[in-house]
Symmetry: C2
DNA sequence: GTCGGCAGAGAACGCTCGTTCTCTGGATGT
DNA sequence: ACATCCAGAGAACGAGCGTTCTCTGCCGAC
């Protein structure tokens, strides 16, 4: 089987994503990624010059994938309030996945954050992107203080993400949706 | 300097706590703990038969310390509603610490959760303890559905804990307190 | 057919780690 | 003073890691 550069890159990223996400980045050796991707070590290092670079690529792709999954759920709704609640429906769907292990950025930050400024930066940027998306939704919903509403919603979201990882249940997303409706009522009523 | 068993154990746990919390458990070698604690490797292994055992002891002590810090803040208040809000004042104080790095259980779970059932169990128990404390407070505050209120409050708390770790600011705890008052109003008014 | 170059397999290298072993020096008991 | 024991320092060991190197076999060019 001959793979062009794009195919090989794809295979490596697929393998890295699955392994890094399941076991954490430090527990996974480059050889495990070679075995899972079927791409030789030599080629792997041509595509990604170091493990750190591969970790960055992994996080970058997670970010893009996550944002697009979120957008899919949100854009299926038209009513501004429903669009906000769709965020929690997305979290429910995500945390229901069998291999769900929480937020890759939080996990990787927990592993390397104090040691790797790049990872800290990527995690911070990922969360900032989420915050901006929520702020936009809050604005569209006519919130008196969209930034503040976004901050409140983000807390519920992050809470649901980590709690469902540890408890192994998708229930936190349901609870987060409930709490979000309460906060929406309180934030848009006046 | 001669140390009896209790002193040595204390020194080792102090060192392990600081290092594990700052850099994650996998990045810290036993030799670093030996150097930081001043306890010889031989004795270290007499006190804790393996690194896994030391990690468990570290988490166990974190749990106890965390619970007692929380209780301190809560018990400084008498009004049931204020006692609930004191949880967020605690989170603010905690996340303001210079060496704050989020929740040790979430971080360690992110590193080892999929690989170490003991760590997963300890994280789950720690969070369950927090949930019970919140449920008790919600009950005392006369909530119509204390379990549900506790679930909502826990989401805000977890969200604040992880967000302040990544953003490096204690602001999320303030936002969480705001959101908590909204949810309290909605949950205890009717 | 023969040669050159390239890709993959995996050996090799240097390092770190968890854990154990050895050696040494001092304290203790008689 | 001498033998005995123990604790500490750190060497040693075996494994695993990230990364690089070598060998081998295959492909196209002439």
């Amino acid at each position: 089987m001959v793979l062009d550069t794009a195919d090989a890159q794809q295979k490596v990223l697929d393998a890295a994503d699955a392994l890094f996400y399941e076991r954490g980045v430090q527990s996974v050796g480059m050889d495990a990624i070679r075995a899972a991707s079927g791409v030789s070590l030599k080629r792997l290092y041509q595509l990604f010059p170091s493990k750190d670079a591969l970790i960055e690529a992994y996080l970058h792709r997670r970010d893009e994938l996550w944002q697009s999954m979120l957008a899919e759920h949100v854009d299926a709704q038209t009513d501004p309030r429903e669009r906000i609640l769709a965020v929690f429906d997305f979290l429910y769907a995500w945390s229901s996945q069998r291999d769900y292990r929480g937020c890759a950025f939080i996990n990787t930050f927990g592993e390397l954050g104090a040691v790797s400024p790049q990872v800290a930066e990527l995690a911070s940027k990922h969360k900032e992107g989420f915050r901006q998306a929520l702020t936009r939704l809050a604005h569209e919903a006519g919130a008196a203080d969209p930034e503040r509403l976004a901050d409140h919603l983000i807390l519920l979201s992050e809470g649901a993400i980590t709690r469902s990882a540890i408890s192994g249940s998708a229930d936190p997303a349901v609870r987060a949706r409930e709490a979000a409706t309460m906060i929406l009522d309180a934030s848009t009523k006046g």
